[in-house]
């Protein structure tokens, strides 16, 4: 789960990481007031979950409250990579002496938290990793001891020449590690971590991604999500999750309902391979009760691009005839005018096909397919017909 910069900074502050004073504004007027309160030059920063807001014009400096209001009015309602800016962070501007990078990730390779620090801060760290990997110093933390003081120190002495700054920074790196662990983060980043012209250190930006699996024990963080994504695609994804579905919207027109994440991806890939465009990723998980099928269809059909639906279900432990009944029951309750191709394989698959054939629901075309490839081809053909009409 991604959270906004201002939310990440709230977490930072809780653990004693210094962040410049700032507040969130929802209107240009609010931005003006906050700038007045600060009484010094401010930075107005779009609060969006996508990256690259700086290049997109989502960050502006304002020397006066007037400028702040103007900047906020430009940034608010801006569309940054598909995300509409609904709030800005107005924060005290810092005179920067140097910019560095401090970050922590859960590293899949070493199966440990890995600290990364670099003197090349303020720019995309992935770019640094690609272009000049030697500029990034990494350290895999033993999870049974946590990050130790001297380890933090050894890292910071590699990127700072001034011993005072190095010592200060290692204390902050320890706090960042604490924030990372206690928040169950998968990533925590200060980029840039800056030294001001007056010798202070600040987390100028803040990024924290939270491990979704841990949210059951972080009500405060879970609550951050609720407040941030009304009406967006992400809101739909969250709703799906609450219904035990895993949904991601894509740009195509063929809706997919699949059990299993790997199979769902493979289904999207196959549609694309045969010349179609998948409208979504949708994993309905292990059991396919009528309720789940109904929920899945409900979410899927909110996307008005969808012209046909492809059910690709591998029975496995679940009996295919049960799934077929679930599909019939679900679509009986809904009024669906789009054609649906159904592929059911595994235990009792012929029985399932019979159920689908014998229980056609008026108004909804249910087309059986005997394999994934056949199903994909059929649904693409159907969409082409619809589009050509």
């Amino acid at each position: 789960m991604k959270i906004h910069e201002y939310q990440a900074k709230e977490i930072f502050q809780k653990y004693g990481i210094p962040v410049p004073f700032g507040k969130v504004a929802y209107t240009p007027e609010e931005a003006r007031k906050i700038a007045e309160e600060i009484g010094e030059p401010v930075v107005i920063k779009a609060q969006v979950l996508v990256g690259g807001r700086g290049k997109a014009g989502g960050i502006k400096i304002a020397k006066t409250p007037d400028e702040a209001q103007e900047a906020a009015s430009k940034i608010l309602e801006m569309d940054i990579k598909g995300e509409i800016v609904k709030k800005v962070l107005v924060t005290k501007a810092i005179d920067i002496e140097s910019e560095t990078y401090l970050g922590i990730i859960v590293d899949r390779g070493s199966k440990k938290p890995v600290i990364m620090v670099s003197a090349a801060g303020g720019i995309d760290i992935e770019e640094v990793a690609r272009e000049t990997p030697e500029k990034i110093h990494k350290f895999a933390v033993d999870p049974s001891t946590g990050l130790l003081l001297h380890q933090a120190r050894e890292l910071c002495f590699k990127i700072f020449e001034d011993p005072k700054i190095a010592t200060k920074s290692s204390a902050i790196l320890l706090k960042l590690y604490e924030a990372f662990i206690k928040s169950d983060a998968s990533l925590a980043e200060i980029n840039p971590f800056v030294v001001s012209t007056t010798g202070e250190v600040w987390a100028l930006d803040a990024k924290i991604n939270i491990d979704d699996s841990s949210l059951y024990r972080h009500e405060d963080i879970e609550a951050m999500r609720e407040s941030q994504s009304i009406g967006t695609d992400e809101a739909t994804e969250i709703e799906a999750k609450q219904k035990n579905l895993s949904y991601v919207k894509l740009e195509g027109n063929i809706g997919c309902v699949v059990n299993g994440a790997g199979l769902a991806m493979a289904t999207m890939d196959l549609i694309k391979r045969y010349g179609g465009e998948p409208a979504n990723f949708l994993d309905i998980g292990g059991s396919s009760s009528p309720e789940k099928v109904t929920n899945a269809m409900d979410i899927l059909l909110r996307d008005k691009n969808v012209k046909a639906v492809f059910f690709n279900i591998f029975g496995g432990i679940t009996r295919c005839d049960d799934v077929a009944k679930g599909i019939i029951e679900a679509i009986s309750k809904m009024s669906i005018s789009l054609p649906i191709v159904v592929r059911l394989t595994g235990t009792n698959e012929s029985l399932a096909r019979d159920i689908l054939t014998l229980n056609q629901v008026p108004g909804t075309a249910l087309i059986p397919a005997s394999s994934m490839a056949e199903g994909a081809k059929k649904v693409i053909e159907l969409v082409k017909k619809t589009v050509n009409k």
Binding site: V50, V106, R108, G109, K111, K112, P113, E126, A129, D142, P143, S144, I181, D184, S186, D211, D212, S213, S214, Y216, R217, S246, V248, L250, V258, N259, G260, A261, G262, L263, A264, M265, A266, M268, D269, L270, I271, K272, R273, P278, F281, D283, F314, G315, G316, I317, T345, G346, T347, S371, M372, A373
Partner: protein, 288 residues
């Protein structure tokens, strides 16, 4: 031969009295797996399908000689179950449970690193050595005994591909769903090592997906150490970056972990990559 499990495997089911635990215990017993014990703290003395239930894994191991644990415990307690199995002379832990926080797994894996125990999963369907033993939730009926090892980050996609392998006329030595989480126990290269040594196995099918570097590592490992052929399939060519595709581990982040990169890594070292699941069996037939 087969790897990790065979007819001598003795399973203890942790969380055996739960809905999933009881259901799949029955399925494992039907398949012929020796499920010798179950554990649910506080329910010691009960029986599930004739299998005795104990309060602790230690007791179950002492009384029944169980050497493999299959964990069906709800996510909040699943990591505790891993610790308990790791602390009770179990040789192989198969953690079906999903939803364990990554940092909990980081600690648990560090804990296990001192012990002589292997961990499969979490968030995995388990594994099967056809006609010998199955531990987990895979549908036994689709697998036939043979010479192909299968390792996969997926569940149903594995069944899909296994079906195509079998329909080509090939059989399977051991098929393992290694788990869809970012932090898992054994990884592709660990299984490649085991298959390389296994006499029954002549070739390996590797089913990968977006996220992480495990497929890239496997490609490197293959180049250096493997004599047996690999056929790979990678799901998620059309997955957008930054979005978690179901599995916690299936996410393209920072521009790495794409299907394209993984396919290129495989092809670079001479591993055939199937363009769609149906091709896997055919490609493998041509190589062994």
């Amino acid at each position: 031969m087969s790897i990790l499990i065979d007819e001598n495997t003795k399973v203890v089911g942790q969380g055996i009295t739960g809905r999933d635990g009881a259901f799949h215990t029955k399925k494992m017993l039907e398949y012929g797996t020796k499920v010798v014990a179950g554990v649910t703290p506080g329910k010691g003395g009960q029986k599930v399908d004739g299998v005795p239930v104990f309060n602790t894994v230690k007791e179950a191991v002492e009384e029944t000689g169980a050497n493999t644990s299959c964990i069906f415990v709800p996510h909040k307690f699943a990591v505790d179950a891993i610790y308990e199995a790791g602390d009770s002379c179990i040789e192989l832990i198969v953690c079906i449970s999903e939803g364990i926080p990554a940092l909990d797994m980081v600690k648990a894996i560090k804990f296990l690193s001192d012990k002589k125990v292997k961990l499969i999963g979490p968030n995995c369907p388990g594994l099967i050595s056809p006609e010998k033993c199955k531990v987990g939730i895979l549908p036994g009926n689709i697998f036939k005994k043979g010479s192909i090892g299968v390792i996969s980050r997926s569940g149903t996609l594995t069944y899909e591909i296994a079906t195509h392998i079998v329909s080509t006329g090939l059989g399977i030595s051991t098929c393992i769903g290694i788990g869809g989480d970012p932090i898992i126990g054994l990884k592709f290269i660990d299984y490649l090592k085991l298959f390389e040594k296994d006499e029954q196995t002549k070739g390996v099918v590797l089913v990968g997906e977006i996220g992480g570097q495990d497929e890239e590592e496997a490609a490197k490992y293959f180049k250096e150490y493997c004599k047996k052929p690999i056929v790979a399939f990678i799901a998620g060519l059309t997955a957008p970056p930054g979005k978690r595709m179901g599995h916690a581990g299936a996410i393209i982040s920072g521009g790495t972990g794409t299907a394209k990169e993984k396919i290129e890594a495989f092809e670079k070292v001479g591993i055939k990559v199937a363009k769609e699941p149906e091709e896997v069996g055919t490609l493998m037939s041509m190589q062994i």
